[in-house]
Amino acid sequence: MPVELSPATASLAGGAPEGAADLLRQMWRIRLFENTVMDLFTRGLVRGSTHLCQGQEAVSVGACAALRPSDTMTCTYRGHGAVIAKGAPLDACFGEILGRAGGLCGGKGGSMHLTDVSVGALGSNAIVGAHLPISVGAALTSSYHGRGDVSVAIFGDGATNIGAFHESLNMASVWRLPVVFLIENNQYGEYSPLRSTTPIDRLADRAAGYGMPGEYVDGNDVVAVHAVMEAAVARARVGQGPTLIEADTYRQVGHSRSDPATYRPAGELDRWLARDPITLLSDAMRAGGAHPPPEDVEREAAAEVDAALRRAMDMPEPDPASRLRDVYGAAA
């Protein structure tokens, strides 16, 4: 039987809350990080591909702001923002994408596998939907030990059509595990618009099939995302089981570095740029007046990102012999 959540009422319509500057700073750190990665890629310093999240920052920032350090989070190959929001250091994130020894994973993972277990960022996964059962497992550990920690899986709209989504929501609900499933609906599954692959308008409606609450939230309103997440996390923490949240947002860039996103209808990007999550929060802060000017926050974040990049560029390349390590823990 679906359980109703009391609707989260907080949103930017109520003005910028206390702590807005911290949310804005985190969103700017991610935005400028992603812009820098795009530049690094263009300069030939990043291998393979990158999947950037400009425009989607409010989802991971609002979500991770609702978590405590011992809570865990998994995300997708479009996960730089989520891993940074969970607390991974910018220099080691840059270092990993640059393939340096000082990167989060020693240069073995790269852009699609940013992971910082020390801050509860259990992994960015390059297989669509595959991290959902892994988050269920982290929630099982919390439940097994009665720790009250919550596990969050952040994934795209495309993942709601893969089998692991179904298996994970079903099992988490049967076992009432403390996990929050957060759909970052950026309107496109790779190159295909959601409407062409999915027969319903509201992905959160799928929650009913798993006997859990389904919540829809404006994913470009960081305050609203935070409020909805806080309610779901609180519910999970006290043993009431999982929640499915759909946060509507927009991928301002193509699927990956090689995608110019020419398939988007004319005007669509402009409409979403007018609702850019950073602009929305900055405008609310200016209207409220009491906060540090958003420009100051942006300037500080830019300085931080620049300094992190410089440190990362100074990191050495990995020792080629290190490729043989970490396959097994003990010698096989």
Binding site: G106, T115, A130, P133, I134, V327
Partner: protein
């Protein structure tokens, strides 16, 4: 010493591991009150309860994925995939997640996951429930593979797998469930990567696992009556593989036959022959031989399945030819 069969020793090993470590738990389809589809987990639910013996939906991806997430956050899961063939429906979790997670994260996590699967042909389960699926995983670094063929090895390798900090796939051969054996206190000490010499001989080295180990031993008895003296080696684990045990025997016999209930392509026997010829070419007095199954799916009808599997008489005849080559 306790006399017990291959089927029942599984629950004994799991129970001993669960008593020894409160972080060990079991998940899988019907493993709880039902005691498992093959009754290999009977009694565990009664002793350890639903927290540690967890029935799952028919959701192999969720079973393995949950085990991965639980392992990286500190637990020591045992996941049961009812038939090894069903590894096909969770291959991503096994091949892309379980095998690679430690590596991709630069060693940030350990994955003490044991995946148990009922494996192999000969019991009339037909093409989708009989495959020797251990061969699917040979080319995926990050996974260890145990293929116990006796009661003692099953107990010892299961305990070792559960205690190991890396993922171990343990293949339980469902045509050996009635096999009898004994477990004792020192059964525990079976390391991964350590072969056992089933019998010593001087004319030929026969390497075989699980069901074929027993057929190879029977064939060796018959060959002995003809005056052909065979060594039979059971590697017991395919990853890591005890190459040295085979090479050591080859130095005396100079002839190698692998017996496997699998087609040749991409199999452990084919890999072993390739490694042995590359590393020990000068030891061979005859071309190495792989006695395997047909390059077809496993058929159902008893006459068809019997013909598909290498028989004792076929092993005898092919090894005889090898020795007189």
């Amino acid at each position: 010493m306790t006399q017990i069969n291959y089927r029942k020793v599984i629950a004994v090993a799991i129970a001993d591991a669960m008593r020894a470590d409160p972080d060990v738990f079991l998940i899988g389809e019907d493993v709880g009150a039902a005691g498992g589809a093959f009754k290999t987990t009977a009694g565990l639910f009664e002793e350890f309860g639903p927290r540690r013996v967890r029935d799952t939906p028919i959701s192999e991806q969720a079973i393995v994925g949950t085990a991965i997430g639980a392992a990286m956050t500190g637990l020591r899961p045992i996941a049961e995939i009812m038939f090894a063939d069903f590894a096909g429906v969770c291959f991503d979790q096994l091949a892309n997640q379980l095998a690679k997670y430690r590596y991709m994260t630069g060693g940030q996590v350990r994955l003490p996951v044991t995946v148990r699967m009922a494996n192999g042909a000969g019991a009339g389960f037909a093409a989708q429930h009989s495959q020797p699926a251990e061969n699917w995983f040979l080319n995926i670094p990050g996974l260890k593979i145990a293929v116990p063929g006796t009661v003692e090895d099953l107990y010892g390798l299961l305990r070792t797998a559960i205690a190991d900090d890396d993922p171990v796939l343990v293949f339980e051969h469902k045509n050996l469930f009635a096999l009898k054996g004994e477990v004792s206190a020192d059964t525990l000490a079976i390391p991964l990567g350590k072969a056992t010499v089933v019998r010593e001989g001087t004319d030929v080295t026969i390497v075989a696992i699980q069901q074929m180990r027993h057929r190879a031993a029977e064939a060796a008895d018959q060959l002995a009556a003809e005056g052909i003296s065979a060594t039979v080696i059971d590697p017991r684990t395919l990853v890591p593989f005890d190459d040295e045990a085979v090479a050591d025997s080859l130095r005396r016999t100079h002839r190698l036959a692998v017996v496997q209930e699998a087609p040749h392509g991409g199999s452990w026997g084919a890999s072993l022959v390739a490694r042995m010829t590359a590393d020990n070419f000068t030891l061979f007095d005859a071309p190495p031989l792989v006695i395997g199954a047909d390059e077809t799916p496993v058929p159902y009808s008893p006459g068809l399945e019997d013909a598909w599997l290498p028989s004792v008489s076929r092993i005898v005849s092919e090894v005889r030819k090898l020795v007189t080559w």
